[in-house]
């Protein structure tokens, strides 16, 4: 059994010495910077080549260069997904692309095709090779297999439950990355061809049409069992949220906690990253006196547009981990403001409008630097400093009188009663 040292007693108090990496998604540079500012240790992005999520606005090499520079300035890392399953037509240009990523200082590539592993090893690059969850690795022997090929980290399948995870952690030596938050594939990742068959869009090359979220008629011996859209067969998963399980996962010595969602908004990224950052730090500082605060769970709900669940953590996912007929969908709290800068003397914040809001509405500010706080919008000005009542132009630069100190990149959302 290979025990990794997770904690140590210092001055009579146990502290966590193996703090997991918090790994966040970023669909563009703005999201990447937001994730890092709000506390991510590493960010994963898709390049223009060889990456899934073809609909995320993927990064050019110039974008990746800027991302790496920004990340390094903030002591964070950039991982680049190269996780398509290669077809004959995708075999060209891999070497050049990997060399370019390596030269830019990318920390790791996330791959799903063994040919990528082979090429990266042959090129003797500095970057690490992480095995994507697209390969659905569910046991320690499969981890050993990939470890022997030179893979530095395995991102486990979302189907791995806690009891199995514990055993895997005891029996493996390479880094293990585990999903803690975000959307779930209902089928084994990499092994789902619904999109290919129903939309002719290749799921394993980033074209997934999310056919699993559709409604289906269901038949037994050609007799239709559902009578309407309301009782149609569905295969839609609730999103994963392992907020309460974080202490258990830290104690296992998981190397990296992954948040899913390169397509998500900066509000989502800021909220989720910040919540897990605070939670991980609070637990690691004093694990033996840590008491779970409901605040963490409530925070994740503010960014959720689907109901949240613990997925497979406690065993095979039941009907409680699925969405039936959209009745479990829920609206996200509305993100309205991003702070651009703050004039402390005048107590005026230069802000960017992100959604419609108006004078008289209650908003909640949140920040990586301070506690949340709320205020009612009272004085709002346009770019010419004329007083206005409504902010209704997306991305418009405005000025707002604020009751507390704010910082660049703080955000605010409407408080719904």
């Amino acid at each position: 059994m290979l025990m990794k040292e997770i904690s140590k007693v210092i001055n009579g108090r146990r502290v966590i010495i193996k703090k997991p990496e918090l790994l966040a998604p970023a669909g563009n540079l703005e999201k990447l910077k937001t994730a890092i500012i709000y506390g991510a240790n590493a960010v994963f992005v898709g390049g223009k080549e060889f990456s899934l999520r073809s609909q995320a606005s993927n990064f050019s090499l110039d974008d990746i260069k800027e991302a790496v520079i920004f990340a390094k300035e903030h002591n964070a890392d950039v991982h680049v997904t190269c996780n398509i399953i290669l077809h004959q037509e995708n075999l060209k240009g891999i070497e050049e692309y990997l060399k370019a990523l390596d030269k830019l200082g990318v920390k790791a590539i996330i791959v799903a095709d063994v040919n990528m592993v082979r090429i990266a090893k042959q090129l003797d690059l500095q970057l690490e090779i992480h095995l994507s969850t697209q390969l659905s690795i569910t046991n320690s022997k499969a981890v050993d297999f990939w470890s022997a090929l030179g893979v530095n980290r395995v991102v486990l399948a979302r189907e791995v439950e806690y009891s199995d995870l514990k055993d895997i952690m005891n029996k493996t030596t390479i880094d293990i990355e585990y999903f803690i938050h975000g959307a779930m594939c209902i089928h084994y990742s990499g092994r789902c061809m619904l999109s290919n068959y129903y939309s002719h869009r290749d799921a394993n090359r980033g074209g997934c049409s999310q056919s699993c979220r559709w409604n289906y008629d269901i038949y037994e011996n050609d007799i239709k069992l559902n009578t309407s859209k309301e009782d149609a067969f569905t295969m839609s998963s609730k999103d994963l949220a392992l907020v309460k399980e974080i202490p258990k996962l830290i104690e296992l010595g998981i190397d990296s906690f992954k948040i899913e969602g390169r397509m998500k908004s900066i509000h989502y990224i800021a909220t989720i990253v910040s919540t897990y950052r605070k939670l991980i730090d609070a637990y690691c500082d004093n694990p033996d006196t840590f008491i779970f605060d409901e605040f963490f769970e409530l925070e994740t709900l503010k960014a959720a547009n689907r109901c949240l669940s613990t997925g497979f953590f406690y065993g095979v996912a039941t009907q409680n981990q699925q969405i039936f007929n959209l009745r479990d969908e829920q609206p996200t709290q509305e993100f309205v403001i991003r702070v651009v800068e703050y004039d402390e003397e005048k107590r005026i914040a230069k802000i960017e409008q992100r959604n419609h809001f108006k004078v008289g509405e209650l908003v909640e500010f949140f920040s990586p630097k301070k506690e949340h706080w709320q205020m009612t919008i009272k004085k709002l000005y346009n770019i010419d400093f004329e007083e206005i009542e409504i902010a209704n132009h997306p991305m418009e630069i405005l000025f707002l009188e604020v009751e507390q100190v704010v910082y660049a990149n703080d955000m605010a959302r409407k408080v719904t009663k």
């Binding site: 569910t138 050993d144 869009r201 074209g207 037994e220």
Partner: protein, 304 residues
């Protein structure tokens, strides 16, 4: 080309021994899915002993296995070794790792279901001890030909039968029936049809979760000559949900085409088969994945 297919009727041992399937596949619900009949180790051993030398017996270990199944896997591999089976069809690299650690020797066919899509990857995997690869069912015949240029001796192409589409670890039927309080048996075979689509597929549950397979049979008659031209070594006929008689007829048709290949009778025999019920899957079809291609195709569809 050698034909692989599943044993779907345990009573027909003599028929299979004397039949036209070159590589017979058996499974057991403890370690296999999407197979029709269970074989115990004793039965596997007995069948292996009865089979003529030129016929091979492979065992289907086609799952992704949870950590808690590793002990069972190890015992299974040791038991199969003592049954002296010829080979294993596997999906999980844990199998490869365990075989190495236990120092066992089986012929290994890798059926990743969806991942075997290019020659470079397969060539590398073959250097790790894998003998043959089930090519993804979702690639075109041109891609198959391309792969075959380098890997023909190690390629398995599914030529007939139902196709795997997806597998969930979740019991999706049970979950649905429970959520909607419907009193139904989740271990029956159901069909599903996406809204606004004519496609209907099978869905069923077993101990490994929920499986979706095509209801339409894959056909390869029209492109079979191209597969033979490419020297594809193995053709797989998925026996799932077939009757023995249907399986026998299908196997016979492809064996006959193999026999008549490069003769004047090939086309005549092909024509004599008539129109079969089924489709040609992705052989002539392409999937798109780049955003601009998706948009272009959607626009074309709208303009039609």
């Amino acid at each position: 080309m050698k034909i692989l297919s599943n044993i779907i009727d345990k009573q027909k041992i003599e028929a299979y021994c004397n039949g036209l399937i070159d590589i017979l596949i058996v499974g057991n619900r403890e370690y296999s899915s999407r197979h029709q009949v269970d074989f115990s180790f004793e039965e596997i051993k007995a069948w292996k002993q009865r089979l003529p030398k030129e016929k091979k017996l492979f065992v289907l270990m086609n799952q992704l296995y949870d950590q808690s199944k590793l002990e069972m896997l190890e015992k299974t591999l040791l038991a199969l070794d003592s049954c002296r089976i010829d080979g294993i069809i596997f999906q999980d690299f844990a199998i490869l790792q365990l075989i190495k650690e236990l120092q066992l020797s089986f012929r290994l066919f890798y059926d990743s279901l969806t991942l075997n899509t290019n020659a470079a990857t397969l060539s590398y995997l073959s250097s790790l001890g894998i003998e043959a690869f089930f090519l993804s069912r979702e690639i075109s015949v041109e891609d198959i030909e391309e792969i075959a240029k380098e890997m023909s001796k190690q390629s398995v192409v599914q030529i007939d039968g139902l196709r795997y589409i997806a597998q969930s670890k979740r019991p999706l039927l049970s979950n649905y029936f429970n959520a909607l309080e419907m009193d139904r048996d989740p271990r029956t075979i159901y069909s599903i049809q996406p809204a606004n689509s004519t496609i209907v597929d099978y869905i069923f549950e077993d101990d490994y979760g929920c499986h979706i397979v095509s209801k339409q049979r894959l056909l390869s008659y029209d492109i079979f000559e191209r597969l033979l031209d490419s020297h594809i070594e193995y053709g797989y006929i998925n026996g799932l949900f077939m009757s023995y008689q249907q399986q026998n007829e299908i196997v016979e048709s492809y064996q006959q085409l193999i026999k008549l290949y490069l003769t004047d009778d090939y086309q005549r025999y092909l024509s004599s088969l008539g129109k079969q019920d089924g489709d040609y899957g992705f052989y002539y079809d392409t999937t798109v994945y780049k955003l601009e291609d998706v948009r272009k195709r959607d626009a074309n569809e709208r303009d039609k």
